[in-house]
């Protein structure tokens, strides 16, 4: 079964995402900020990373860069709720830095799940 690293600082949202992912039989490891995410990331195990962008400690953009450096083939989905630096900017940057998909909050969980399924299916 595919293993997903979920990085989100908002506890409720993370919990909701975890529930949805677990329900679809993914193995989920969680992190509440960028620093933690880099600790939890296991190159040999993790297949996909879902990360928020604006977070305390290391932000999502750094997470994307570092993880892509360690495992270039990994799939990454960036999610953001906009704000301080402009959501457009952040999500665009995420895409440039290697995020495969971006979602602007609030998004449809079904859309997200469908996208994950497509991304993890063998080509």
């Amino acid at each position: 079964m595919a293993c997903i690293l979920l990085v989100e600082d908002d506890h409720d949202l993370r919990e909701m995402l975890r529930t949805s992912l677990v329900k679809r039989k993914y193995i989920v490891s969680e992190a509440s900020n960028g620093k933690e995410a880099l600790l939890r990331f296991k190159p040999s195990m993790t297949d996909l990373v879902i990360t928020d962008l604006i977070m305390p400690d290391e932000d999502g953009l750094k997470v994307i860069m570092k993880i892509k450096e360690i495992k270039p083939g990994i799939k990454i989905i960036a999610i953001s709720g906009g704000g301080k630096a402009g959501p457009g900017n952040y999500l665009d940057l995420a895409k440039i830095l290697g995020a495969d998909e971006i979602f602007s909050k609030p998004f449809s969980i079904n859309d997200l799940m469908r996208k994950i399924e497509v991304m993890l299916s063998p080509e």
């Binding site: 949805s20 709720g81 449809s108």
Partner: protein, 755 residues
């Protein structure tokens, strides 16, 4: 004896010479002395430089006194010759004096020599004067001929009997050409009749007549003269002649005119100066006010305030006394902003400075005030305050919206999870759908707040602003009731600005809907104007840094209910609305403000209660570009199957701007017609799933029936995701987008679909 003069001494007597030298040095220090032992040596030197006085010792003149005098007089009459003679008869002295000697000293004593020498400078002066007088035949003629005035003597027949040289020069004729001629021959009959005759007649009655007039003389042309006629009579007899004195005062007149002009100019300046000028006495009683002051004080004429005390206009009682004492202490003072009542009772703010004007003995006699209306300054300060306030609210609201989106994502996610768990027949499904639509609504609000707080990136492209404006007007007009008319005046069409057309459309739409709501059910009009102003006007209007050479100004003016000033000041704040709850979110104008600020533009509002409001938008003109640079569409045809008209409208506007050709269909017939027409075959179909006229089944049927292979871009609502699967199965859907669709997304989708 200060005037230096030179003395030559001819003597071979060295003891006399030494005595003389020491005597002269002591008593006449300004005299320079040269000495010679013979007359020959003297003559040689005298050719070079003449001495004023020659003291000649007769004993040592080799050729005697007579040849000596003759020799000197041949060359020179100016030298005073003093002979020193040992013994001499009276006859000889007379003879010597006759021949030109100035004095003969015998016996020679140092004292006598000194006396004579001391007399010399005075003698010299007197001799010069006499010589000058002797040179002229008559002193009077000299004066007359050298006078700068034209002088003449005229008899009762108006004939010149005598004229001076100046008169002749001015007329370029000699005396004979004038004397004996009448005045009208010289001046011309017209001039004589109009400017001379009457005054001469008056003079012959015994009066001195003085007047000023311009006369034309052959040499000097038209000049201005002061003329004086003085009667001349013999004894107590009647006036027989008159003396005419004509003095050229053109230069004087000219300089007088300059002075008058300067005075006039200063008066004009003082009158027209945009600074209110006021002169009071030291107790503040108004003596004089200029026009600007009257204007500031809303006073119709100076007489209405003259005599009043300026302190009566001060809002703060007692402040004038403080000003006054400060002035008496330091003479010049700037008081900053002072609140004043105008003549009709309005309260205004003026920047006031003043200074004391003192009389010759230094006692204060006036206080001169300068009043500058600082209402614009105040207005700008207020505007800045408002802008800072909006900035703060924006930062706060933006942060809030960001956190809020997290919460919304959680709610939306759980509602979707819940939906999955519920059996299709569950009555709770309806409730979950409502939760989801509430989240959608909340998202649109946070979007607006993020736009207001300038945290949404606008995808800027060169946009023809009048196109967008016209489209918006058309769109608004189609939904208007008959009570409101819109007229527009586009003075500078075709100009481009760098903007997101979708957002621009939103700006205008909001302003129009605001105007429409302000008019309400009454009859009213909205007038729209588009024109261009240059940078300096924009700088003045906006009072901020200018980023372009030109600005487009769009004003939207309504005849609606208008606003109080207190409302107007806060109109762009989010959730500040005067409308009843439910009529508008209170975010519309905040969003407008955010979008325009992001475009480096500005929006101003003016309003009068019960008269109407006017919103004026300033946007920097994009120079050196035309629409073709945005031509990525290359005229390819996009067929829009529209759902919500507003959304497709703004999307299509943006795409038209990028060079695509847009075909619109909103019903089945139009769709079939367009697809059957081979000449007008679209390159791409953009299908909005919420189209009510063309259902999913219709689309599928038509594609199968006509056997077309045009790629499709599907734009879905979030809650309809499953429904479109059949269309996707058709195999022509190249891209699928979920609302709201950004400009970048649709551009990318189109390009991917067409390749």
């Amino acid at each position: 004896m200060d005037i230096p003069w030179s003395l030559a001494i001819i003597t071979a007597d060295s003891s006399l010479l030494n005595k003389l030298k020491s005597l002269i040095r002591k008593s006449l220090p300004s005299v320079t002395i040269t000495y010679f032992d013979s007359e020959n040596a003297f003559f040689t030197a005298n050719q070079e430089e003449k001495s004023d006085v020659v003291l000649s010792d007769q004993r040592h003149l080799l050729s005697g006194w007579k040849p000596f005098l003759e020799e000197i007089n041949d060359h020179d009459n100016d030298t005073f010759i003093v002979f020193l003679v040992d013994e001499c008869s009276g006859g000889k002295i007379v003879e010597m004096m006759k021949e030109g000697a100035y004095d003969i000293l015998t016996p020679v004593t140092l004292n006598r020599i000194l006396t004579v020498l001391q007399r010399i400078p005075g003698e010299k002066e007197e001799r010069d004067r006499l010589r000058f007088l002797a040179n002229e035949k008559t002193f009077g003629d000299h004066i007359a001929n050298n006078s700068r005035s034209m002088l003449s003597i005229i008899n009762k027949e108006y004939v010149y009997e005598k004229v001076n040289a100046t008169f002749c020069t001015a007329h370029t004729i000699n005396t004979e050409g004038i004397v004996g001629k009448s005045l009208y021959e010289i001046w011309g009959r017209e001039t004589f009749e109009s400017k001379i005759k009457q005054n001469i007649d008056l003079c012959f009655q015994g009066n001195i007549v003085r007047y000023e007039a311009n006369f034309n003389t052959p040499l000097f042309g038209n000049r201005f003269f002061e003329v004086v006629f003085r009667p001349i009579r013999k004894g107590d007899g009647p006036v027989t002649h008159l003396l005419a004195e004509t003095f050229d005062i053109t230069e004087l007149k000219h300089s007088q005119k300059i002075v008058n002009d300067m005075e006039e100019e200063f008066k004009r300046l003082e009158t027209n100066l945009p600074i209110g000028f006021l002169r009071c006495d030291t107790n503040g009683i108004i003596i004089h006010a200029n026009r600007a002051f009257l204007k500031i004080m809303e006073c119709e004429e100076e007489a209405l305030i003259a005599g009043l005390g300026i302190q009566e206009f001060y809002v703060e009682k007692g402040l004038f006394e403080i000003h006054r004492s400060q002035l008496l202490f330091s003479a010049v003072k700037t008081f900053g902003r002072v609140a004043l009542y105008t003549c009709i009772g309005n309260e205004i703010a003026c920047r006031v400075s003043a200074f004391i004007v003192s009389d010759e003995s230094g006692n204060p006699s006036f206080i001169d005030f300068a009043f500058e209306d600082s209402s614009r300054e105040l207005m700008l300060e207020n505007r800045l305050l408002q802008a800072q306030k909006l900035e703060t609210i924006g930062a706060l609201a933006g942060g809030l919206a960001h956190d809020f989106n997290n919460v919304m994502a959680t709610i939306f996610g759980y509602s979707e999870l819940l939906m999955e768990e519920l059996p299709p027949s569950s009555p709770l499904l309806e409730s979950v759908t409502r939760i989801q639509s509430a989240v959608e609504k909340a998202k649109s609000i946070t979007d607006q707040i993020l736009t207001f707080s300038r945290q949404v990136d606008q995808e800027k492209i060169p946009v023809s602003i009048d196109t967008i404006l016209n489209e918006t007007i058309g769109f608004v007009r189609s939904g208007l009731k008959e009570n409101i008319t819109i007229d527009s005046e586009i003075l500078n069409p075709g100009l481009l600005i760098n903007a997101d057309p979708t957002q621009l459309f939103r700006v205008f739409l909001n302003l129009f809907s605001n105007a429409v709501q302000a008019i309400g059910d009454n009859t009213g009009a909205i007038s729209v104007k588009l024109f261009v102003v240059n940078a300096s006007i924009a700088r003045y209007d906006l009072n901020k840094d200018i980023v372009a050479d030109e600005y487009i100004v769009v004003s939207i003016e309504d005849t609606g209910e208008g606003m109080e000033e207190s409302v107007m000041e806060r109109i762009f704040e989010p959730y500040y609305t005067t409308r009843e709850t439910g009529k508008g979110t209170g975010l519309g104008l905040s969003v407008v403000h955010g979008i325009i600020a992001e475009l480096d533009g500005a929006i101003l509002v003016t309003s009068n209660k019960n008269v109407g409001s006017k919103f004026t938008v300033y946007l920097p003109v994009l120079s050196g570009m035309d629409l073709n640079t945005g031509n990525i569409g290359k005229g390819r045809k996009l067929l829009f199957i529209t759902g919500n008209r507003y959304e497709s409208k703004i999307l299509s506007l943006a795409l038209e701007n990028s060079g695509y050709k847009i075909i619109y269909v909103s019903d089945l017939n139009g769709f079939i017609k367009t697809l059957s027409n081979n000449d007008d075959h679209p390159d791409l179909v953009i299908y909005m799933e919420d189209s009510e006229e063309i259902s999913h089944a219709d689309l599928i049927n038509i594609y199968s029936a006509i056997k077309i292979e045009i790629p499709i871009i599907l734009i879905s609502d979030r809650n309809q995701l499953q429904a479109a699967e059949k269309i996707i199965n058709l195999g022509y859907v190249k891209q699928r987008l979920t609302k709201p669709v950004s400009l970048k997304e649709i551009h990318n989708a189109i390009q991917l679909s067409l390749t």
